[in-house]
Every structure is written in structure tokens, then in C-alpha cells.
Amino acid sequence: MTTTLNPPPLLEATTPTPARRGTRKKKDKGRGYETRSLVSPMSLQTWHGKLVYWTILVVVVIGFTLAFVFPLYWMVTGALKSPEELAQIPPSFFPKHFDFGVYADAWDQLQLGVFLKNTALYAGGAWLFTLAVDVTAAYALSKLRPFFGKLILGLMLATLMIPPMVLLLPTYLVAKDVPLFHFDLLNTPWAIWLPAAANGFFIFLLKRFFDSIPRELLEAAEIDGASPMRILWSIVLPVSRPILGVVSILSVVTVWKDFVWPLLVLPETDKMSISVGIASLSAQMPQNVLIASLVIASLPTILVFFVFQRSIMAGLTAGSLKG
């Protein structure tokens, strides 16, 4: 089920369905579940079935918590421990005293403020560029349909089939000395912004969404004398909010998480993104300061996940196309 390749499930996934939860709850109170899955609801009614079900549930909840939450707990509390306590065997489960000073140390010593500001600049700029470039391109390909439009779309989608890692060196050389113009983009935000905008997957997502906007709507506006720009701005964009949300979150998070590309194109310490900065300074830091900086570095993306869970999960099923 590659939801990506069929627009209807994608559209469904990107538009919130608040009513569903309520109806499902109601049904649960009745006979059972409206759709059955692997295990029949009947077998869950017996005491034996209930016992097995609850055992598995408890095991899964505890297992998941240990595997995925505990490492994060260990990270957050590890930063609060003194270097001696960190080296102590056996380790303490709770830190002996809560000293948040180490977070302040990490902030100052690792110049996390600078790194975070840089990363925000790269991610924010990449977001603006991605939207400006990809939305206009998708709009042109979907609604204005120029000559060679299909060929251009095909070439853009073809780039998805080439894994980014294998083009690392030639792309680096382009950033170092842009052909024709001979700009050196290293240590400038442009080295992040421009490649981020060349995203065939986003153009594909946006084009599929724009294709689903009824033609009559746009034609009516055209007859009223609206320019293509005006149609894009006043009609297409407002109805495309769900997909714009997905693309926005994906583009910001991708740039924020990226490591290899910023490692190459932003070698100056003052220009580094947070991931690269922490990694390159990690050797010189006391352990607890380093761990505190890991916590600070992961906060933004985790917060984004808390707020935009639904869109991120929707984008994920859409993202199964991405190579």
C-alpha cells in the first residue's frame, strides 16, 4: 500500500477527521469493534483470551517504554549528574541532586545559542525557499501545463531514484564553485537553502494535491480577470493548507536533522548547525556537559513532534515513496 501513489488516501490522511474518534468509541460500547483484525473479538471475550491480551499489552507497553523512552530519560537525568556520579558503578537511577547549572554550562561552553540560531536560520530559510520554489513549480506543472511539462516533472522525479549520498562529492563541488557564476557558497546559508528547495518529492506531493482542485474554480477566476499569480495566492494556496502543512513540517525537520551536508558545506565553527557543532566539539567537553547539549539539541524536534504529531504521521505514510 503505497499511499503516496494514490492521492485520495493522502488527502484523507492530511485532513483532520475529528468525528471519527467519537463514533468509534460509541461502537465499542456495543457489540465490539466494527472491523475485526487478526484476532477475532469473540476470542477476546473469554477469560483466557482476556488474560493473554492483557499480558501482551502490559509486556508491549513496558517493552516500548524501556526501549524508546528510557534512553531519553537516561539522557535527561544523565546531564544532571556530576562527572563523578556519571562514572560511578553501579549507576544511580535518580541523580543525587538536581543541578540544572550543567545545562547553562552547556549553553555557554558549546555556544549552543549560536548553533541553534544558525540551525533556525538554515531550517527557516530552507522552508521559505522550498515553499516558494516548489509551490510555484507544482502550480505551473499542474495548472498552467507548459510544453515539456511532463518531461520536466519526470526529470524532477528521477532525482528521487538517486540516493543523495552518492552525489555528495559532486554536489559539494557545485556548492564550492557554482558553475557559470563561480560563487563560493561554502559557509553561507545558500549552500543549505538552494539544494533543499530542489526536492522532487515535495513537488510531486504538491502537484498531486493541486491536480485535485476543480478546474472550474480556477477558470471562473480567470474569466473574472485574475492573473495566474493572483489565482495561486487567493484560491490555490488557501485550499491547499493541509498539504502545505505537511511539506512545511517535513522540510523544516529534514534540514534540522541533517548531518552530512552541513558537515561538508559549513566547516566554520561559527556557521555550524547544532548537530555538526555538538559532534565536532564533543571530544573536548566533560561528559555531563556534552549530554546536556544533546538534550538541548533534541528538544526542538521533539517539541515539533508533540505539536504536529498528526501531520508528521500523515507525511510519513506519504513519505514512503521517498528514497
Partner: protein, 307 residues
């Protein structure tokens, strides 16, 4: 019948106004497209060509580049790390497939049966995916610490002697697979979960009536029904894991004794440690050819799925 007798309409060229409008429309369209065309040309299309040129040239970025034929490939082949890099990359992908491919499917099948705590479990399994990879890798570097590291402490709690994780040739690669799997497990699990939810319940019901037990139902209903997504994820997983870079770069530096050198990492080393972009380009081109095979199969599969 009048239609048949009527004269066929005379073919005329488009009226002047329409032609002008078509040109205008195309100009507008290309105006909208120009940003994307520039970005793609410089950062996607041209690098593909440049990659091929790069691997057949010797260049020091001062003198004009020289065509050297297959010299770069010969240099890379002669490197003792070359063999290790490919074997490690294959082993990494293989191990990551065994764990990272099967486990999410099993997790998704189990999660799909649970009626409680679903939102929590889905949230939690995806949490590591949202961490910046550099953070996840450095976090595990600390867990792998041979002294007070979390993993050896846990082993100690069970009375198992400590492992040297990243420092021994026998465990280093597996340690990398563990980090990578932990960080990426959530994606597969949630995609499978979405696929499982679209399986019609009647299939399970009739299988059960035919006397199929739990495992036979999984094998004869769940697996065939999710066959396509399983195949797609397999290919994506291979392509993703064969590009592994950040784990060896941050955890082991390719050591001990080249036990964790991967192709992507060797490519980086050639270019940025040895200053040999030609050798790096040659490695990149080889990796590209291998991965393009998987990508092509993937493209084929997803296109078949579409129709």
C-alpha cells in the same frame, strides 16, 4: 444523418489571439518554474553528470583537471580498505534487514491487535526517529562506553561480563546496526501499521472458519495482503542502509582494523582526508550503480502498484 452529409470542417490554423495566448501561458508557466529549474539544474541534474566526470578525472582544483581513464578505479581497487568497505556495507545492510525489517513488521502486527494505549505506543515508537541522528548516535556512544556505559551496566546486572562494543572487531559493526535500528524502527512500524489497517476483516474471519490458527492467519492473510508494501520497504531499506555514513563517522571512525569502514565513509575519507576527489568519485559511482539497480526495481514495483 445530417452530420454525415455535412462537409468536414476546414482545418484552420489557430486564430492569432489563441496562439499568442498559448505563448503567453507558456511564458508565465516557465516564469513560475524557473526557480525550481535553477535549483534542480545546479543541485540535482548537473551533479549526476559531474559524478561521472569526477570519477574519470584527476583534479587538484588548482591545475586544469586531467582525464585519467580508469586510474581512479584502479587506485580504489588496490586499497586494502576497499574490500572491507563493501563487505561491511553488505553486512551492515544484511544485519539491518534481519533486525530492522522483520522487527517493525512483527511490532506492527502486535500493535494492530491492541485496543489500548495505541496512541502512546505509536508516539513512543516514533520518538527516536524525531531525534537528530547525530544526537542519537552520540547518545549511544555514551551507552556503549566500556566502563560506566549503560549497556555494560545492564549486562552486569544480569551477571554477564562486559562487552567492548565499539572497540572489538567482532562487535563493532553489530553495535552500529543496533543504533541505526533504534533510530529508524519507528518509520517502518508506522507504515506497516497503516497497511495492516486496510486489510478487510472478512479475510481473517473466513481463514479462521477454515481452521487456520494464529500463525497461519498471519502467513496466509497478513503477509500476502501487505506483500507490496513489504517489498517496497525492503528495497527502500536496502537503499537506505547501504548509504550508512553517520554511524561509522561518529562512533568508530571506521575502526577497529577497518571493521566498520563503509563505502560511503570510505568515499568521504578519500575526498576529505586524502584529498583525492577522483577516488571518492569512483567509489560514489560504484555505489550509485549498485543502488540504482535497487531503485529501478523499486520504481517498477511501485508503478505496477499504481496501475
Amino acid at each position: 444523418m445530417a452530420v454525415l452529409t455535412a462537409k468536414p470542417p476546414v482545418r484552420r490554423s489557430l486564430p492569432q489571439g489563441a496562439a499568442r495566448r498559448a505563448v503567453g501561458r507558456n511564458l508565465t508557466a516557465y516564469g513560475f518554474l524557473c526557480g525550481a529549474l535553477i535549483c534542480f539544474a545546479f543541485f540535482s541534474w548537473y551533479p549526476m553528470i559531474r559524478e561521472i566526470i569526477l570519477s574519470f578525472q584527476s583534479t587538484n582544483f588548482v591545475d586544469p583537471a586531467q582525464w585519467v581513464g580508469f586510474d581512479n578505479f584502479r587506485t580504489v581497487f588496490a586499497d586494502s580498505a576497499f574490500r572491507s568497505a563493501w563487505l561491511n556495507t553488505a553486512a551492515f545492510s544484511g544485519l539491518a534487514l534481519v533486525v530492522g525489517y522483520a522487527v517493525p513488521f512483527v511490532l506492527a502486527v502486535v500493535l494492530n491487535e491492541l485496543r489500548h494505549a495505541k496512541a502512546y505506543l505509536r508516539f513512543v515508537v516514533y520518538l527516536p526517529v524525531m531525534l537528530p541522528p547525530a544526537v542519537g548516535v552520540l547518545l549511544f556512544k555514551w551507552f556503549y562506553d566500556p566502563g560506566a556505559g549503560l549497556f555494560n551496566q545492564i549486562l552486569d546486572g544480569f551477571g554477564i561480563p562486559p562487552l567492548s562494543w565499539l572497540d572489538s572487531t567482532s562487535t563493532a559493526l553489530i553495535s552500529l546496526v543496533i543504533v541505526s535500528t533504534w533510530m529508524n524502527l519507528g518509520t517502518g512500524t508506522l507504515i506497516y501499521l497503516a497497511a495492516l489497517q486496510s486489510i478487510p476483516g472478512e479475510l481473517y474471519e473466513s481463514a479462521e472458519l477454515d481452521g487456520a490458527g494464529l500463525f497461519r492467519r498471519v502467513w496466509h492473510v497478513t503477509v500476502p495482503q501487505t506483500k507490496l508494501i513489504l517489498l517496497v520497504m525492503l528495497l527502500l531499506q536496502v537503499v537506505a542502509t547501504m548509504q550508512v555514513f553517520i554511524e561509522p563517522y561518529l562512533l568508530t571512525g571506521g575502526g577497529p582494523e577497518n571493521a566498520t569502514v563503509t563505502v560511503a565513509y570510505l568515499m568521504y575519507q578519500y575526498a576529505f582526508n586524502f584529498g583525492d576527489f577522483g577516488g571518492g568519485g569512483a567509489l560514489g559511482l560504484m555505489l550509485m550503480v549498485v543502488l540504482m539497480v535497487f531503485s529501478a526495481i523499486y520504481l517498477r514495483v511501485s508503478r505496477d502498484n499504481q496501475s
